[in-house]
C-alpha cells in the first residue's frame, strides 16, 4: 500500500458524503424555486442507498473505526441529556483544576439517583478545543474518582460513558501524574462498593478509556471500538507506516463483536443501520433499556458478592498457557533460580 492512499472504506464514505451534499443541494433548489427535481434526484437517491447498503451491511473494522469517530455520533451530553433527569454537574478534582474533557454529575436515571461520569468529546471544532477532544488530564480522572467516592458514600450506582481517543499525552499531564491517576482509578474501581455500569459509546482509547471503564457490566455500542493502541499508532510501530492503519484495525480485534468474543465486553448494543447518528433516538432507547435492566439486576446483588464477582471477572481476562499437567506440577513447586544470569 502506498502512503496516504485512502482506504476503500474511507473512499466509499467520501462518495456517500458527496452524494448526500448533492442531494441536499437539489432539494434546497427545489424548495426555493418550487421546481421539481425528481428526475435528477431519483438516480442519486438510488445510488446513495446502494452505497449505504454496501458500506453498512458488513462494515470492516476500519470502517467501524470511522463510525466510532464520526463527528455527528451522539456524545456524552446527548446521552446524559436524554437518559437522565435532574442533572447536576460537579466540577474539579479539589487539587488542581476542573478538566472539561471529563464530566462528572449527580443525576437521576429512571428516577433513581446515580453518579454519571464520562469523556466529554465535542461535536465541532469549537467544542472539541474547549474540551480537549475528550482527552483528560490527570485532574479529569481524579475528578471522576472524587465523584465515584461520592457515589460510594451515598450508595448510588455509577454509570460511566466511555468515548476518548486516549488520555492526553502532554508534558503537564505527565508532570501531574497521568499514569498514577489512571492506575489509581483502575484499582479503586475494581473495589468500589457500589454497582458500576460502563457504556462504551465511541472510541475506547487504551488506558485513558480504561481509567473509567472498570465495571460490573461493560456495555458497548455496536460500532464503538475499544483498543490498547490506535490503529494508526499500531501501524506506525509495527510497519513504520501509519497509513496501514486499516490493516492494523483488523489485526487489533477492536470491534464490539470481537471484544464480546474475547470476554472483555458483556453485551453489545445494536445501532441503527448506518450508525448511531442516523437514528439517535433508537440508540438512546437501546442504551436506556440495557442500563435499566443491568442496574436493576445489580441492585439486588449483595455488595460483597458483587465485589467478588467483579474481581474474578477481571482476574480471568487474558489467555495463558500453562505447561502440561506433569511439568505444571514441577513449576508449581518452587524451584531455585538458575545459576548465573
Amino acid at each position: 500500500m502506498t502512503e496516504r492512499t485512502p482506504s476503500p472504506a474511507a473512499d466509499l464514505d467520501r462518495q456517500l458524503a458527496d452524494l448526500e451534499q448533492e442531494i441536499e443541494r437539489l432539494r434546497k433548489r427545489s424548495r426555493e424555486q418550487s421546481v421539481s427535481v425528481d428526475a435528477e434526484l431519483g438516480p442519486l437517491l438510488e445510488r446513495a442507498d446502494h452505497l449505504r447498503v454496501q458500506i453498512y451491511t458488513n462494515p470492516s473494522p476500519w470502517h467501524i473505526v470511522q463510525l466510532a469517530r464520526q463527528s455527528q455520533r451522539p456524545r456524552l451530553l446527548d446521552f446524559v441529556g436524554t437518559l437522565c433527569s435532574d442533572v447536576m454537574e460537579l466540577h474539579g478534582d479539589r487539587l488542581y483544576r476542573d478538566d472539561p474533557a471529563l464530566l462528572a454529575a449527580l443525576a437521576r436515571f429512571e428516577g433513581q439517583p446515580v453518579v454519571v461520569i464520562g469523556h466529554n468529546k465535542g461535536k465541532d471544532t469549537k467544542e472539541n478545543i474547549a474540551r480537549n477532544f475528550g482527552m483528560p488530564y490527570p485532574e479529569g480522572y481524579r475528578k471522576a474518582l472524587r465523584a465515584m467516592r461520592l457515589a460510594e458514600k451515598f450508595r448510588y450506582p455509577v454509570i460511566s460513558f466511555v468515548d476518548t481517543p486516549g488520555a492526553y499525552p502532554g508534558d503537564e499531564a505527565e508532570e501531574r501524574g497521568q499514569a498514577e491517576a489512571i492506575a489509581r482509578n483502575i484499582q479503586e474501581m475494581s473495589r468500589l462498593r457500589v454497582p458500576l455500569v460502563v457504556v462504551i459509546t465511541g472510541e475506547g482509547g487504551s488506558g485513558g478509556a480504561l481509567a473509567i471503564a472498570v465495571g460490573d457490566v461493560v456495555l458497548m455500542l455496536q460500532y464503538a471500538v475499544y483498543t490498547v493502541i490506535s490503529p494508526e499508532g499500531c501501524a506506525a510501530i509495527l510497519w513504520h507506516d501509519a497509513s496501514r492503519a486499516r490493516e492494523a484495525a483488523e489485526a487489533l480485534k477492536l470491534t464490539a463483536q470481537d471484544l464480546q468474543t474475547l470476554g472483555v465486553v458483556d453485551e453489545v448494543l445494536p445501532e441503527p443501520f448506518g450508525g448511531a447518528h442516523r437514528d439517535p433516538d433508537a440508540t438512546f432507547a437501546a442504551v436506556r433499556e440495557a442500563l435499566g435492566r443491568h442496574l436493576q439486576a445489580l441492585r439486588e446483588v449483595p455488595i460483597e458478592i458483587l465485589l467478588d464477582r467483579r474481581y474474578k471477572k477481571y482476574r480471568r481476562m487474558g489467555r495463558i498457557l500453562e505447561e502440561s499437567e506433569q511439568s505444571a506440577q514441577s513449576s508449581q513447586s518452587p524451584r531455585p533460580l538458575a545459576g548465573d544470569g
Binding site: P169, A173, E174, R184, A211, V228, L252, Y311, R315, A338
Partner: protein
C-alpha cells in the same frame, strides 16, 4: 552486551573492564550509568543467596488474536533471554526479610505486559495476600503488549485489582521502577506502590516523548520523565542507586514489618498454593 573482557559504556563510551563492571552491579564506574539488567540479574543482586523460589515458571502467553508474527517474536524472545516470559516471580528473602518478589525483563519483548505477565504479577500479588507477605516488584517495561490487543489492556485492570487486595489487607507493596518503565505498566501496578523507588536516570512516564512532542509541538527538556524529574514533581518517593537498592529495600521491609527469617533458618518454603 557482547562477551569479552571489555565492555563499552553506552553513555560515556569508555571501555570498562567487564569484571569491574559486574562487581559494580553493572553501574559504570566512570559515569554511574545504570546498565539495564535481566530479571535474573536483578533477583540475584537483590535477594539473599539461595533464598529464591520461583512461581509459575511455565506460564506463557498464547497468540489470542492470531497477530502477525507474534508467535515468531515470542520464540525469538525466549531464545534470546532463556526465559518463558517477560517477568519472573517468586519468593525469597532480602537481608532476612521474607517477601514475594517479581522482576520484569526489558530484554523480553521490551518487558511488555501481555496476558502471561499480567497473570504472573496478579498471582504474585495473590500469594502476598494469602501468605501475608510483602510484595516487591521491579518494573522495566515499554507498556502493554500490542500483539495481544485489548487483552493486554485488561491486564492493567487484573494487576491493579490484585494489588488493591494487598492494600486492603494492610500488606506492604514496594514498587521499584527501572529503566524504562512506561505506558501500561506505569498506569497500573508500578504506580500503585506504598513506597515507590526508582533507579537513577530511569525513564519513567505514561506517554512516549515523541508523541508528547508531536502533541505540544515543542521540544521537551532532556531530563523530562527521568527518575529525578519524577522525584522533583512528587510522583515517586526516592531515587536509589543500584548499589544501595538492596539495603534500601531491606530497611523498608524491616520497617513495615515483613516476617524475619534468620539466616540459619532459611530453607525451602512450603509449596505455594496454585
Amino acid at each position: 552486551m557482547p562477551a569479552g573482557i571489555w565492555a563499552k559504556c553506552p553513555r560515556c563510551r569508555n571501555l570498562i573492564y567487564r569484571k569491574e563492571l559486574e562487581r559494580n552491579l553493572k553501574v559504570c564506574p566512570k559515569c554511574a550509568y545504570h546498565h539495564r539488567l535481566t530479571a535474573v540479574e536483578r533477583l540475584e543482586i537483590t535477594l539473599d543467596e539461595n533464598s529464591f523460589r520461583e512461581y509459575d515458571a511455565g506460564l506463557t502467553s498464547t497468540d489470542p488474536l492470531g497477530f502477525e508474527n507474534y508467535p515468531a517474536k515470542l520464540s525469538e524472545a525466549r531464545a534470546k533471554t532463556d526465559q518463558a516470559e517477560a517477568v519472573i516471580t517468586g519468593e525469597g528473602t532480602i537481608d532476612g526479610s521474607q517477601t514475594i518478589i517479581g522482576a520484569l525483563d526489558f530484554h523480553f519483548m521490551g518487558g511488555s505486559m501481555g496476558s502471561a505477565v499480567g497473570e504472573k504479577v496478579a498471582r504474585a500479588a495473590e500469594r502476598s495476600y494469602e501468605q501475608r507477605l510483602p510484595l516487591v516488584i521491579f518494573s522495566a517495561s515499554g507498556g502493554a503488549r500490542m500483539q495481544e490487543g485489548v487483552l493486554s489492556l485488561m491486564q492493567l485492570a487484573k494487576t491493579s485489582a490484585a494489588i488493591g487486595r494487598i492494600h486492603d489487607a494492610g500488606l506492604p507493596y514496594l514498587s521499584v521502577m527501572c529503566d524504562p518503565t512506561t505506558g501500561g505498566v506505569t498506569a497500573s501496578f508500578a504506580f500503585l506502590g506504598d513506597v515507590i523507588l526508582a533507579e537513577p536516570g530511569a525513564l519513567i512516564g505514561f506517554a512516549g516523548r515523541r508523541v508528547i512532542e508531536q502533541t505540544i509541538r515543542r521540544k521537551l527538556p532532556d531530563d523530562f520523565q527521568t527518575a529525578e524529574f519524577c522525584l522533583q514533581k512528587g510522583l515517586i518517593d526516592m531515587v536509589v542507586p543500584r548499589t544501595e537498592m538492596r539495603s534500601a529495600l531491606a530497611r523498608l521491609l524491616a520497617f513495615v514489618g515483613a516476617p524475619r527469617v534468620l539466616p540459619a533458618a532459611i530453607e525451602p518454603a512450603p509449596a505455594a498454593q496454585p
